[in-house]
Protein backbone atom coordinates (compact mmCIF):
# COMPACT_ATOMS: atom_id res chain seq x y z
CA UNK A 1 0.00 0.00 0.00
CA UNK A 2 2.65 2.47 1.10
CA UNK A 3 4.97 1.30 -1.68
CA UNK A 4 2.23 1.73 -4.29
CA UNK A 5 1.57 5.25 -3.05
CA UNK A 6 5.27 5.97 -3.03
CA UNK A 7 5.64 4.67 -6.57
CA UNK A 8 2.66 6.72 -7.73
CA UNK A 9 3.98 9.91 -6.21
CA UNK A 10 7.39 9.28 -7.77
CA UNK A 11 5.74 8.79 -11.19
CA UNK A 12 3.69 11.97 -10.76
CA UNK A 13 6.79 13.92 -9.75
CA UNK A 14 8.78 12.55 -12.69
CA UNK A 15 6.04 13.40 -15.19
CA UNK A 16 5.84 16.95 -13.86
CA UNK A 17 9.59 17.39 -14.28
CA UNK A 18 9.71 15.88 -17.77
CA UNK A 19 6.81 17.97 -19.03
CA UNK A 20 8.65 21.20 -18.17
CA UNK A 21 12.17 20.42 -19.35
CA UNK A 22 13.51 23.97 -19.66
CA UNK A 23 12.08 25.03 -16.29
CA UNK A 24 13.48 21.87 -14.69
CA UNK A 25 16.89 22.56 -16.17
CA UNK A 26 16.96 26.20 -15.11
CA UNK A 27 15.85 25.46 -11.57
CA UNK A 28 18.35 22.66 -11.03
CA UNK A 29 21.14 24.88 -12.35
CA UNK A 30 21.28 26.74 -9.01
CA UNK A 31 21.95 23.52 -7.11
CA UNK A 32 24.40 22.34 -9.79
CA UNK A 33 26.46 25.51 -9.39
CA UNK A 34 26.24 25.36 -5.58
CA UNK A 35 27.33 21.70 -5.37
CA UNK A 36 29.98 22.30 -8.03
CA UNK A 37 31.41 25.26 -6.08
CA UNK A 38 31.53 23.63 -2.68
CA UNK A 39 32.66 20.14 -3.71
CA UNK A 40 35.30 21.60 -6.06
CA UNK A 41 36.76 23.58 -3.16
CA UNK A 42 36.75 20.46 -0.95
CA UNK A 43 38.22 18.27 -3.69
CA UNK A 44 41.08 20.70 -4.30
CA UNK A 45 41.71 21.25 -0.57
CA UNK A 46 41.64 17.48 0.10
CA UNK A 47 44.02 16.82 -2.79
CA UNK A 48 46.45 19.54 -1.69
CA UNK A 49 46.28 18.22 1.86
CA UNK A 50 46.98 14.66 0.69
CA UNK A 51 49.88 15.85 -1.44
CA UNK A 52 51.43 17.81 1.43
CA UNK A 53 50.97 14.93 3.86
CA UNK A 54 52.70 12.51 1.50
CA UNK A 55 55.50 15.06 0.92
CA UNK A 56 55.90 15.48 4.67
CA UNK A 57 55.81 11.71 5.19
CA UNK A 58 58.53 11.24 2.58
CA UNK A 59 60.82 13.24 4.88
CA UNK A 60 60.52 10.32 7.27
CA UNK A 61 58.17 9.20 10.05
CA UNK A 62 59.21 9.48 13.66
CA UNK A 63 62.17 11.67 12.68
CA UNK A 64 63.53 14.76 14.42
CA UNK A 65 65.52 17.25 12.36
CA UNK A 66 68.30 19.26 14.00
CA UNK A 67 68.37 22.55 12.12
CA UNK A 68 69.16 26.22 12.46
CA UNK A 69 65.63 27.52 11.87
CA UNK A 70 62.46 26.16 13.54
CA UNK A 71 59.50 25.10 11.40
CA UNK A 72 57.03 27.53 12.90
CA UNK A 73 55.37 30.30 10.98
CA UNK A 74 53.27 33.30 11.79
CA UNK A 75 53.58 37.01 12.51
CA UNK A 76 55.42 36.53 15.82
CA UNK A 77 58.34 34.62 14.33
CA UNK A 78 61.47 35.99 16.15
CA UNK A 79 63.87 35.53 13.21
CA UNK A 80 66.44 37.85 14.75
CA UNK A 81 67.00 35.29 17.54
CA UNK A 82 67.75 32.53 15.06
CA UNK A 83 69.82 34.27 12.39
CA UNK A 84 73.09 34.16 14.37
CA UNK A 85 72.82 30.49 15.23
CA UNK A 86 75.48 28.11 13.81
CA UNK A 87 74.43 25.53 11.23
CA UNK A 88 74.62 21.82 12.10
CA UNK A 89 77.84 20.14 10.96
CA UNK A 90 78.90 16.65 9.97
CA UNK A 91 81.24 16.50 13.01
CA UNK A 92 78.21 16.89 15.27
CA UNK A 93 76.63 13.81 13.66
CA UNK A 94 79.37 11.58 15.11
CA UNK A 95 78.96 13.11 18.54
CA UNK A 96 75.17 12.84 18.43
CA UNK A 97 75.55 9.20 17.38
CA UNK A 98 77.90 8.55 20.28
CA UNK A 99 75.81 10.29 22.95
CA UNK A 100 72.21 9.52 21.94
CA UNK A 101 70.69 6.29 23.26
CA UNK A 102 67.19 6.55 21.78
CA UNK A 103 68.24 7.10 18.15
CA UNK A 104 68.07 4.27 15.66
CA UNK A 105 69.57 6.04 12.64
CA UNK A 106 71.26 9.43 12.30
CA UNK A 107 71.72 11.03 8.89
CA UNK A 108 73.11 14.24 7.49
CA UNK A 109 72.22 16.16 4.38
CA UNK A 110 73.39 19.28 2.54
CA UNK A 111 72.16 20.64 -0.76
CA UNK A 112 72.81 23.38 -3.30
CA UNK A 113 71.83 24.32 -6.81
CA UNK A 114 74.45 23.36 -9.39
CA UNK A 115 74.86 22.78 -13.12
CA UNK A 116 74.59 19.24 -14.50
CA UNK A 117 75.95 18.25 -17.90
CA UNK A 118 75.95 15.20 -20.10
CA UNK A 119 77.22 15.62 -23.66
CA UNK A 120 75.13 18.49 -25.11
CA UNK A 121 72.43 18.29 -22.46
CA UNK A 122 72.72 20.80 -19.66
CA UNK A 123 70.49 21.35 -16.64
CA UNK A 124 71.03 24.55 -14.71
CA UNK A 125 69.99 25.12 -11.11
CA UNK A 126 69.45 21.42 -10.42
CA UNK A 127 69.28 20.52 -6.72
CA UNK A 128 72.36 18.52 -5.77
CA UNK A 129 72.06 16.79 -2.37
CA UNK A 130 74.95 15.38 -0.43
CA UNK A 131 73.81 12.54 1.81
CA UNK A 132 75.50 10.64 4.56
CA UNK A 133 75.06 6.87 4.11
CA UNK A 134 72.42 6.62 6.86
CA UNK A 135 70.28 9.44 5.51
CA UNK A 136 69.16 6.98 2.82
CA UNK A 137 67.63 4.87 5.60
CA UNK A 138 65.57 7.81 6.85
CA UNK A 139 64.34 9.42 3.64
CA UNK A 140 61.77 7.35 1.77
CA UNK A 141 62.40 6.89 -1.96
CA UNK A 142 62.46 4.05 -4.49
CA UNK A 143 65.24 3.29 -6.95
CA UNK A 144 63.94 1.91 -10.26
CA UNK A 145 67.28 1.49 -12.01
CA UNK A 146 70.67 0.72 -10.49
CA UNK A 147 71.35 0.89 -6.76
CA UNK A 148 71.90 3.08 -3.67
CA UNK A 149 75.45 4.06 -2.51
CA UNK A 150 77.68 1.59 -0.73
CA UNK A 151 78.95 2.72 2.66
CA UNK A 152 82.57 2.90 1.42
CA UNK A 153 81.48 5.11 -1.52
CA UNK A 154 80.00 7.66 0.91
CA UNK A 155 82.86 7.52 3.40
CA UNK A 156 85.50 7.64 0.64
CA UNK A 157 83.74 10.49 -1.18
CA UNK A 158 83.49 8.55 -4.47
CA UNK A 159 82.24 10.51 -7.45
CA UNK A 160 79.01 8.54 -7.93
CA UNK A 161 75.53 9.98 -8.42
CA UNK A 162 71.90 8.92 -8.21
CA UNK A 163 69.53 10.83 -10.51
CA UNK A 164 65.95 11.97 -9.98
CA UNK A 165 63.64 10.87 -12.79
CA UNK A 166 63.12 14.33 -14.36
CA UNK A 167 66.87 14.95 -14.29
CA UNK A 168 67.51 11.54 -15.85
CA UNK A 169 65.01 12.33 -18.63
CA UNK A 170 66.66 15.71 -19.19
CA UNK A 171 70.25 14.46 -19.33
CA UNK A 172 69.49 11.21 -21.13
CA UNK A 173 66.74 11.90 -23.65
CA UNK A 174 65.48 9.31 -26.17
CA UNK A 175 65.35 6.56 -23.52
CA UNK A 176 69.14 6.40 -23.26
CA UNK A 177 70.17 4.09 -20.39
CA UNK A 178 71.97 6.27 -17.79
CA UNK A 179 73.50 3.65 -15.47
CA UNK A 180 77.30 3.53 -15.80
CA UNK A 181 77.44 6.76 -17.82
CA UNK A 182 79.46 9.74 -16.66
CA UNK A 183 77.90 13.17 -16.14
CA UNK A 184 79.35 16.43 -14.87
CA UNK A 185 78.07 17.66 -11.49
CA UNK A 186 79.28 21.20 -10.78
CA UNK A 187 82.08 20.59 -13.28
CA UNK A 188 83.23 17.27 -11.76
CA UNK A 189 82.86 13.91 -13.43
CA UNK A 190 80.41 11.59 -11.75
CA UNK A 191 79.35 8.03 -12.59
CA UNK A 192 75.59 7.40 -12.56
CA UNK A 193 74.76 4.40 -10.34
CA UNK A 194 71.00 4.75 -9.89
CA UNK A 195 67.76 6.44 -10.95
CA UNK A 196 64.99 7.27 -8.48
CA UNK A 197 61.37 6.38 -9.28
CA UNK A 198 59.18 9.30 -10.42
CA UNK A 199 57.39 10.88 -7.46
CA UNK A 200 55.41 13.70 -9.09
CA UNK A 201 55.07 17.31 -8.03
CA UNK A 202 55.44 18.03 -4.33
CA UNK A 203 53.77 20.98 -2.60
CA UNK A 204 56.82 21.37 -0.37
CA UNK A 205 59.15 21.44 -3.35
CA UNK A 206 61.05 18.41 -2.04
CA UNK A 207 60.24 16.01 -4.86
CA UNK A 208 63.19 13.77 -5.68
CA UNK A 209 62.37 14.07 -9.39
CA UNK A 210 64.37 17.31 -9.71
CA UNK A 211 67.30 16.30 -7.53
CA UNK A 212 70.52 14.37 -7.84
CA UNK A 213 72.12 12.70 -4.84
CA UNK A 214 75.87 12.37 -4.28
CA UNK A 215 77.84 11.09 -1.25
CA UNK A 216 78.33 13.76 1.43
CA UNK A 217 82.11 13.50 1.33
CA UNK A 218 82.03 14.15 -2.41
CA UNK A 219 79.50 17.01 -2.11
CA UNK A 220 81.64 18.90 0.39
CA UNK A 221 84.32 19.28 -2.29
CA UNK A 222 82.15 21.76 -4.17
CA UNK A 223 79.69 22.96 -1.49
CA UNK A 224 80.33 25.28 1.43
CA UNK A 225 79.26 23.00 4.29
CA UNK A 226 79.49 25.76 6.88
CA UNK A 227 77.25 28.06 4.90
CA UNK A 228 73.54 28.35 5.51
CA UNK A 229 73.04 28.30 1.74
CA UNK A 230 73.84 24.57 1.69
CA UNK A 231 70.89 23.99 4.11
CA UNK A 232 72.64 21.40 6.31
CA UNK A 233 70.63 19.38 8.79
CA UNK A 234 70.93 16.30 10.96
CA UNK A 235 68.03 13.83 10.77
CA UNK A 236 67.53 11.52 13.75
CA UNK A 237 65.15 8.59 13.61
CA UNK A 238 63.89 7.27 16.94
CA UNK A 239 64.20 3.65 17.99
CA UNK A 240 61.01 1.57 18.00
CA UNK A 241 59.01 2.36 21.15
CA UNK A 242 60.67 5.75 21.64
CA UNK A 243 58.37 8.73 21.12
CA UNK A 244 59.47 11.87 19.35
CA UNK A 245 59.06 13.77 22.61
CA UNK A 246 61.50 11.44 24.41
CA UNK A 247 63.92 11.69 21.50
CA UNK A 248 63.67 15.50 21.47
CA UNK A 249 64.32 15.67 25.21
CA UNK A 250 67.44 13.57 24.83
CA UNK A 251 68.60 15.45 21.73
CA UNK A 252 68.17 18.78 23.47
CA UNK A 253 70.59 17.68 26.21
CA UNK A 254 73.02 16.14 23.74
CA UNK A 255 73.08 19.15 21.41
CA UNK A 256 73.44 21.57 24.32
CA UNK A 257 76.45 19.62 25.58
CA UNK A 258 78.00 19.42 22.09
CA UNK A 259 77.58 23.16 21.60
CA UNK A 260 78.79 23.85 25.15
CA UNK A 261 75.78 25.96 26.12
CA UNK A 262 75.54 27.33 29.66
CA UNK A 263 72.54 26.22 31.76
CA UNK A 264 70.66 29.50 31.37
CA UNK A 265 71.52 30.04 27.71
CA UNK A 266 68.87 29.56 25.04
CA UNK A 267 69.17 26.65 22.61
CA UNK A 268 71.08 27.66 19.48
CA UNK A 269 69.47 24.94 17.36
CA UNK A 270 65.93 23.92 16.43
CA UNK A 271 64.47 20.43 16.75
CA UNK A 272 61.83 20.11 14.02
CA UNK A 273 59.32 17.34 13.43
CA UNK A 274 57.30 16.54 10.33
CA UNK A 275 54.06 16.92 12.30
CA UNK A 276 55.01 20.57 12.93
CA UNK A 277 54.80 21.13 9.19
CA UNK A 278 51.48 19.27 9.02
CA UNK A 279 50.07 21.36 11.87
CA UNK A 280 51.02 24.60 10.13
CA UNK A 281 49.29 23.46 6.97
CA UNK A 282 46.24 22.15 8.90
CA UNK A 283 45.51 25.70 10.06
CA UNK A 284 45.79 27.02 6.51
CA UNK A 285 43.55 24.32 5.07
CA UNK A 286 40.98 24.85 7.82
CA UNK A 287 40.71 28.52 6.86
CA UNK A 288 40.33 27.68 3.16
CA UNK A 289 37.81 24.95 4.05
CA UNK A 290 35.73 27.26 6.25
CA UNK A 291 35.74 29.99 3.58
CA UNK A 292 34.67 27.39 1.01
CA UNK A 293 31.98 26.08 3.37
CA UNK A 294 30.48 29.52 3.94
CA UNK A 295 30.55 30.57 0.28
CA UNK A 296 29.38 27.16 -1.00
CA UNK A 297 26.81 26.71 1.80
CA UNK A 298 25.11 29.98 1.06
CA UNK A 299 25.26 29.45 -2.71
CA UNK A 300 23.49 26.11 -2.20
CA UNK A 301 20.88 27.83 -0.01
CA UNK A 302 20.31 30.36 -2.82
CA UNK A 303 19.92 27.43 -5.22
CA UNK A 304 17.38 26.01 -2.76
CA UNK A 305 15.39 29.26 -2.87
CA UNK A 306 15.25 28.86 -6.66
CA UNK A 307 13.81 25.37 -6.27
CA UNK A 308 11.33 26.55 -3.62
CA UNK A 309 10.19 29.30 -5.99
CA UNK A 310 9.67 26.87 -8.85
CA UNK A 311 7.79 24.49 -6.53
CA UNK A 312 5.41 27.28 -5.50
CA UNK A 313 4.74 27.92 -9.20
CA UNK A 314 4.25 24.21 -9.76
CA UNK A 315 1.72 23.96 -6.90
CA UNK A 316 -0.11 27.04 -8.19
CA UNK A 317 -0.29 25.59 -11.72
CA UNK A 318 -1.61 22.25 -10.50
CA UNK A 319 -3.99 23.45 -7.79
CA UNK A 320 -6.92 22.28 -9.90
CA UNK A 321 -5.39 18.83 -10.30
CA UNK A 322 -4.69 18.63 -6.57
CA UNK A 323 -8.37 19.37 -5.91
CA UNK A 324 -9.43 16.58 -8.25
CA UNK A 325 -6.95 14.14 -6.70
CA UNK A 326 -8.15 14.98 -3.20
CA UNK A 327 -11.81 14.72 -4.13
CA UNK A 328 -11.07 11.27 -5.59
CA UNK A 329 -9.65 10.20 -2.21
CA UNK A 330 -5.95 11.15 -2.34
CA UNK A 331 -4.60 11.60 1.19
CA UNK A 332 -2.70 14.68 2.35
CA UNK A 333 0.56 12.74 2.64
CA UNK A 334 0.19 11.54 -0.97
CA UNK A 335 0.00 15.13 -2.25
CA UNK A 336 2.83 16.09 0.12
CA UNK A 337 5.10 13.29 -1.03
CA UNK A 338 4.31 13.98 -4.68
CA UNK A 339 5.62 17.54 -4.49
CA UNK A 340 8.39 16.66 -2.08
CA UNK A 341 9.71 13.97 -4.45
CA UNK A 342 9.58 16.48 -7.29
CA UNK A 343 11.77 18.95 -5.43
CA UNK A 344 14.14 16.24 -4.15
CA UNK A 345 14.51 14.85 -7.71
CA UNK A 346 15.19 18.30 -9.01
CA UNK A 347 17.79 19.00 -6.38
CA UNK A 348 19.38 15.55 -6.63
CA UNK A 349 19.71 15.85 -10.40
CA UNK A 350 21.37 19.23 -9.91
CA UNK A 351 23.76 17.70 -7.39
CA UNK A 352 24.59 14.73 -9.63
CA UNK A 353 25.30 17.03 -12.60
CA UNK A 354 27.52 19.17 -10.34
CA UNK A 355 29.44 16.08 -9.18
CA UNK A 356 29.79 14.83 -12.78
CA UNK A 357 31.24 18.19 -13.81
CA UNK A 358 33.80 17.93 -11.00
CA UNK A 359 34.62 14.36 -12.02
CA UNK A 360 35.28 15.52 -15.60
CA UNK A 361 37.31 18.43 -14.26
CA UNK A 362 39.54 16.11 -12.23
CA UNK A 363 40.33 14.17 -15.41
CA UNK A 364 41.14 17.39 -17.26
CA UNK A 365 43.29 18.60 -14.36
CA UNK A 366 45.14 15.28 -14.33
CA UNK A 367 46.62 16.00 -17.74
CA UNK A 368 47.41 19.64 -16.99
CA UNK A 369 49.03 19.57 -13.55
CA UNK A 370 51.45 17.09 -12.08
CA UNK A 371 49.34 16.44 -8.99
CA UNK A 372 46.66 13.84 -8.36
CA UNK A 373 43.25 15.47 -7.87
CA UNK A 374 40.56 12.98 -6.93
CA UNK A 375 36.89 13.26 -6.11
CA UNK A 376 36.78 11.26 -2.89
CA UNK A 377 33.97 9.07 -1.57
CA UNK A 378 33.36 11.41 1.37
CA UNK A 379 32.89 14.37 -1.00
CA UNK A 380 30.49 12.38 -3.20
CA UNK A 381 28.45 11.39 -0.11
CA UNK A 382 28.49 15.01 1.08
CA UNK A 383 27.37 16.33 -2.33
CA UNK A 384 24.50 13.84 -2.66
CA UNK A 385 23.39 14.32 0.96
CA UNK A 386 23.31 18.08 0.64
CA UNK A 387 21.36 17.86 -2.63
CA UNK A 388 18.67 15.66 -1.07
CA UNK A 389 18.42 17.75 2.09
CA UNK A 390 18.18 21.02 0.14
CA UNK A 391 15.44 19.38 -1.95
CA UNK A 392 13.50 18.56 1.24
CA UNK A 393 14.05 22.01 2.79
CA UNK A 394 13.11 23.95 -0.32
CA UNK A 395 10.22 21.69 -1.29
CA UNK A 396 8.57 21.13 2.07
CA UNK A 397 6.76 24.49 2.43
CA UNK A 398 5.08 24.42 -1.01
CA UNK A 399 4.41 20.66 -0.71
CA UNK A 400 2.85 21.01 2.72
CA UNK A 401 0.78 23.98 1.51
CA UNK A 402 -0.48 21.86 -1.39
CA UNK A 403 -1.37 18.97 0.90
CA UNK A 404 -3.45 21.26 3.11
CA UNK A 405 -5.57 22.66 0.25
CA UNK A 406 -9.32 22.36 0.51
CA UNK A 407 -10.44 20.12 -2.40
CA UNK A 408 -13.53 22.20 -3.29
CA UNK A 409 -11.62 25.49 -3.35
CA UNK A 410 -8.74 23.87 -5.20
CA UNK A 411 -11.01 22.55 -7.98
CA UNK A 412 -12.56 26.01 -8.38
CA UNK A 413 -9.19 27.67 -8.87
CA UNK A 414 -8.51 28.77 -12.42
Amino acid sequence: MVLTLLKESVVFAWQALVSNKLRTFLSLLGITIGIFAIITVFTIVDSLERNIRSSVQSLGDNVVFVMKWPWTFGPDYPWWKYMNRPVPTYKEVDEVRRKTKSAEVIGFRISARKILKHKNNTIENAIVSGWSYDYGKIKSFDIIDGRYFREDEVEGGYNVVILGSTIAEGLFPNNEYPIGKTIKVAGRNCRVIGVIKKEGESMLGNSMDNQVVVPYNFARLFMDVKSESSEPFIAVKAKTGVTNEQLKDELTGVMRSIRGLKPLADDDFALNETNLLSKNFDGLFDIVGIAGAIIGGFSILVGGFGIANIMFVSVRERTNLIGIQKSLGAKNYFILSQFLFESVFLSLMGGIIGLLLIYILTFAADGMIDMEITLTRSNIILGLTISVLIGVISGFIPAYGASQLDPVEAIRTN
Binding site: V45, G297, L301, T385, L389, V392, I393, F396
Partner: protein
Protein backbone atom coordinates in the same frame (compact mmCIF):
# COMPACT_ATOMS: atom_id res chain seq x y z
CA UNK B 1 -11.54 21.82 9.79
CA UNK B 2 -11.36 25.45 10.89
CA UNK B 3 -7.92 27.07 10.62
CA UNK B 4 -6.32 27.71 14.04
CA UNK B 5 -5.16 31.32 14.42
CA UNK B 6 -1.40 31.57 14.94
CA UNK B 7 -0.41 33.61 18.02
CA UNK B 8 2.15 36.34 17.30
CA UNK B 9 4.75 34.82 19.60
CA UNK B 10 4.60 31.50 17.69
CA UNK B 11 5.01 33.38 14.41
CA UNK B 12 8.03 35.31 15.68
CA UNK B 13 9.74 32.30 17.29
CA UNK B 14 9.12 30.21 14.18
CA UNK B 15 10.76 32.82 11.96
CA UNK B 16 13.74 33.11 14.32
CA UNK B 17 14.01 29.32 14.49
CA UNK B 18 13.97 29.01 10.68
CA UNK B 19 16.67 31.66 10.31
CA UNK B 20 18.86 29.95 12.95
CA UNK B 21 18.33 26.54 11.32
CA UNK B 22 19.22 27.87 7.86
CA UNK B 23 22.29 29.60 9.25
CA UNK B 24 23.35 26.28 10.81
CA UNK B 25 23.27 24.67 7.36
CA UNK B 26 26.74 25.82 6.18
CA UNK B 27 28.11 24.30 9.42
CA UNK B 28 27.76 20.90 7.72
CA UNK B 29 30.60 21.75 5.38
CA UNK B 30 33.14 22.89 7.93
CA UNK B 31 36.41 20.89 7.96
CA UNK B 32 36.01 19.98 11.64
CA UNK B 33 32.65 18.27 10.93
CA UNK B 34 33.99 16.58 7.79
CA UNK B 35 36.95 15.21 9.72
CA UNK B 36 34.62 13.40 12.16
CA UNK B 37 33.64 10.92 9.48
CA UNK B 38 32.03 10.45 6.07
CA UNK B 39 28.51 10.16 7.46
CA UNK B 40 28.61 12.82 10.20
CA UNK B 41 27.58 15.71 7.86
CA UNK B 42 24.74 13.51 6.63
CA UNK B 43 23.46 12.79 10.17
CA UNK B 44 23.69 16.44 11.22
CA UNK B 45 22.06 17.46 7.92
CA UNK B 46 19.09 15.14 8.53
CA UNK B 47 18.69 16.58 12.04
CA UNK B 48 18.75 20.16 10.71
CA UNK B 49 16.28 19.29 7.93
CA UNK B 50 13.83 17.61 10.32
CA UNK B 51 14.08 20.58 12.68
CA UNK B 52 13.18 22.80 9.74
CA UNK B 53 10.18 20.54 8.93
CA UNK B 54 9.07 20.69 12.57
CA UNK B 55 9.13 24.50 12.55
CA UNK B 56 7.00 24.54 9.39
CA UNK B 57 4.52 22.32 11.28
CA UNK B 58 4.55 24.76 14.20
CA UNK B 59 4.02 27.67 11.79
CA UNK B 60 0.89 25.85 10.57
CA UNK B 61 -0.14 25.36 14.24
CA UNK B 62 0.20 21.57 14.17
CA UNK B 63 0.89 19.58 17.30
CA UNK B 64 3.14 17.19 15.39
CA UNK B 65 5.41 20.16 14.75
CA UNK B 66 6.00 20.70 18.47
CA UNK B 67 6.44 16.97 19.06
CA UNK B 68 8.94 16.67 16.22
CA UNK B 69 10.77 19.80 17.40
CA UNK B 70 11.22 18.36 20.91
CA UNK B 71 12.31 14.96 19.56
CA UNK B 72 14.83 16.57 17.19
CA UNK B 73 16.11 18.82 19.98
CA UNK B 74 16.82 15.74 22.14
CA UNK B 75 18.42 13.86 19.23
CA UNK B 76 20.56 16.89 18.38
CA UNK B 77 21.77 17.26 21.96
CA UNK B 78 22.56 13.54 22.23
CA UNK B 79 24.34 13.54 18.84
CA UNK B 80 26.44 16.56 19.76
CA UNK B 81 27.35 14.93 23.07
CA UNK B 82 28.25 11.65 21.35
CA UNK B 83 30.42 13.56 18.87
CA UNK B 84 32.03 15.44 21.74
CA UNK B 85 31.01 18.78 20.24
CA UNK B 86 30.78 20.89 23.37
CA UNK B 87 31.11 24.14 21.49
CA UNK B 88 29.52 27.54 21.96
CA UNK B 89 27.00 26.55 19.26
CA UNK B 90 25.97 23.51 21.34
CA UNK B 91 25.16 25.56 24.44
CA UNK B 92 23.55 28.35 22.41
CA UNK B 93 21.38 25.77 20.65
CA UNK B 94 20.21 24.33 23.98
CA UNK B 95 19.50 27.83 25.29
CA UNK B 96 17.29 29.05 22.46
CA UNK B 97 15.64 25.67 21.85
CA UNK B 98 14.45 25.46 25.47
CA UNK B 99 13.00 28.98 25.25
CA UNK B 100 11.22 28.07 22.00
CA UNK B 101 9.91 24.82 23.45
CA UNK B 102 8.43 26.71 26.42
CA UNK B 103 6.61 29.09 24.03
CA UNK B 104 5.42 26.21 21.88
CA UNK B 105 4.17 24.19 24.86
CA UNK B 106 2.22 27.17 26.21
CA UNK B 107 0.20 27.19 22.96
CA UNK B 108 0.27 23.43 22.42
CA UNK B 109 -3.40 22.86 23.33
CA UNK B 110 -4.57 25.46 20.83
CA UNK B 111 -2.82 23.59 18.04
CA UNK B 112 -4.38 21.17 15.57
CA UNK B 113 -3.78 17.50 16.36
CA UNK B 114 -4.28 16.41 12.72
CA UNK B 115 -1.49 16.04 10.20
Amino acid sequence: MAQVTRPKIIGITSIIAIVLILLAFPMLFTPSIKRMGDFVPMILGIIITLQFVSVIGIWHMKQWGVQLFIIMFCIRVITFMLLDMYTFRFYFNIFYSIIFIIFFLIHYRKMDSNL
